[in-house]
């Protein structure tokens, strides 16, 4: 019963979920959900530019996401507006400019819904290679930078004082985020990328006793959500992105049920897993 396109979609989805897990944890720990949203929304601008200049879609989306995150860092330094307001401005402006540009290009016909909410039919063998290749780069980067990433998430001051380079760490993190957004776009769609980052991570929090385990659990839960969501999408003929997010949400709700997750706070001292 597995058509070829569906196998590709499943494989692509698993690749995306594995990559999104650890990064999603950092998004949650660093309280960067809105930041991730802003980068994801800017992806549509990347799509528009890719069509206009006829350049590679993945590269274009990656480039725009990086540019937006750098712009945001620059604006935050000035401290003229709160980060919150800046994110709101950048997020929706990037999305709006992307939509307007696409509308101007009357000569191209694109399926906007597919970009916004994901389309399992759209995954080509080439995409699959890019997703797994890009995903491997992201996971390798995260593994390589793990200690500095964790340290600067806990305290940039301590990291800096004790010989790390939190500025560089933050930059690497942005690049990895941009890459994840570029490869996740086809599967979950621009509007819902952040959900795939955050929901599995939030679910994993209930089961994890260390940052390392939380990252692994987030990946595993993401894979579960992707597989469940895609089967649902195939079965009910629903868009793939929302189906995956609904599956992730169901897992999250299950994790909230009493009796799930780790022992209660009072006993945590005696049962923690060594990190």
């Amino acid at each position: 019963m597995l058509d070829d396109f569906f196998t590709r979609a499943i494989l692509a989805g698993i690749g995306v979920a594995l990559t999104a897990g650890p990064l999603g944890c950092f998004v949650v720990w660093r309280r960067m959900a809105y930041f991730g949203d802003t980068m994801a929304h800017s992806a549509l601008l990347g799509v528009a530019l890719s069509l206009f200049f006829q350049i590679n879609l993945l590269l274009s989306v990656f480039g725009v996401a990086v540019a937006v995150s750098l712009l945001l860092l620059g604006l935050q330094r000035r401290q003229s507006l709160s980060a919150d307001a800046l994110l709101g401005i950048l997020s929706h402006s990037a999305l709006a400019i992307g939509l307007v540009l696409v509308a101007f290009m009357s000569w191209v016909r694109i399926d906007l819904i597919a970009f916004l909410f994901g389309d399992i039919l759209a995954v080509t063998p080439g995409d699959l290679a890019l997703i797994w290749g890009g995903g491997a780069v992201v996971l390798f980067g995260v593994a390589l930078m793990w200690r500095p990433l964790i340290a600067s998430t806990v305290s940039e001051e301590i990291a800096e004082a004790e010989g790390m380079k939190p500025e560089r760490t933050r930059l690497v993190f942005m690049l990895l985020m941009a890459l994840v957004i570029a490869i996740a776009m086809k599967i979950v769609g621009i509007m819902l990328i952040t959900a795939l980052l955050i929901i599995p991570a939030a679910t994993a929090r209930r089961f994890a006793a260390s940052p390392e385990w939380m990252a692994v659990a987030a990946s595993a839960l993401g894979v579960l959500a992707v597989v469940g969501g895609l089967f649902g999408s195939l079965h009910y003929d629903t868009p793939s992105g929302p189906s995956i997010v609904v599956a992730a949400l169901l897992l999250f709700i299950v994790s909230l049920l009493p009796g799930m997750g780790k022992p209660a706070a009072g006993r945590a001292a005696n049962t923690g897993v060594r990190g």
Partner: protein
């Protein structure tokens, strides 16, 4: 954790006889200053920390204590002057504020390994020294304020740093624990010979365990051994009126606060309050030696000018 009086005596001896084992400079600030939005946070700071030396920064809120510490460790860059650190300097830093997002599952054991891999032996030794070995596997977010502070101190210690920078290291620690942690800091200095830059509001503790006190107020207003600083007029100006707590440790009180909030004076009379001008206080008395114990001054306010005048006479 217990405090051994004998150790305290040894500590005093060490303090009186500055460590001559090594004169190696760890950090040297020369005329360092930093400005934000056209305002100098601190300026003209000259400060050297040598191996085995304890330097304590004191000063009122906003004096630039934390800023100076952050200049010393390189978190902030000076806009004026220079900061030199010896090459390969290993720093252990306890920041003044640290909030860890509760969504990060971080055990105490893992917190200690935040910036460098450590041997299990060193981790446990640091946790035992700070009195929280039983919390090794506890999640950081479940710790009380004092326990968290101990964990942060343990983290700095376990790294075996050349220089420890402690920004109010015992905030939130209970009264008995405070003395024990200060003693611990001293014993680490003795056993490892590391330099220590400390920021503290516990002036009596500062006086007991510090080689050099630097009194900051946007600039260095006075410096020296605890004895000389506590007698300097700049220091009196800064702390005489504003820090009633200092006076508690510098002089004896002439009245006692009763459990019901009333005040018993040295002549045996009892009043509802203890205003300096209520006739029970005498600025020229010889202190009668009443003990305030662990009592707080929170329940009443002294008119500031009068209190300041009184304190200056007391000291």
């Amino acid at each position: 954790m217990t405090v051994d009086n004998g150790v305290f005596e040894k500590m005093h001896q060490v303090m009186k006889r500055p460590n001559d084992r090594s004169e190696e400079q760890l950090v040297c600030l020369t005329n360092a200053g930093i400005s934000r939005d056209g305002r100098w946070l601190v300026r003209g700071v000259d400060l050297t920390i040598r191996r085995g030396e304890v330097v304590t920064l004191i000063g009122p809120n906003g004096a630039g204590k934390s800023t100076t510490a952050r200049l010393a460790i390189g978190v902030l860059k000076p806009d004026e002057g220079s900061v030199e650190r010896s090459t390969g300097l290993r720093i252990g830093y306890v920041p003044q504020k640290l909030s860890i997002d509760w969504t990060m599952p971080l055990s105490v054991r893992r917190l200690l390994r935040l910036t460098s891999p450590l041997a299990e032996r060193d981790v446990m030794a640091a946790l035992e020294a700070t009195g929280i070995a039983h919390l090794a596997d506890a999640e950081v977010r479940h710790l009380s304020g004092g326990e968290f502070q101990r964990a942060l101190l343990a983290r700095a210690i376990a790294r075996k740093p050349d220089l420890m920078v402690l920004d109010e290291p015992v905030q939130g620690v209970d009264f008995a624990g405070e003395a024990a942690l200060y003693e611990l800091i001293q014993s680490i200095r003795r056993s490892t010979g590391c330099g220590i830059l400390m920021i503290s509001h516990d002036l009596h503790m500062v006086m007991a365990g510090t080689d050099t006190v630097i009194c900051l107020n946007g600039h260095i207003c006075c410096r020296g051994t605890p004895e000389t600083v506590s007698q300097s007029s700049d220091y009196m100006k800064l702390f005489g009126g504003s820090a009633r707590s200092l006076a508690v440790y510098n002089h004896h009180h002439d009245h006692t606060h009763l459990p019901d909030g009333r005040v018993e004076h040295s002549d045996g009379s009892i009043t509802d309050h203890c205003h300096p001008d209520d006739g029970h206080h005498h600025t020229d008395h010889g202190h009668a030696g009443h003990d305030h114990g662990a009592h707080e001054h929170g329940g009443h306010a002294h008119p500031v000018a009068k209190a300041a005048e009184g304190d200056r006479n007391h000291a």
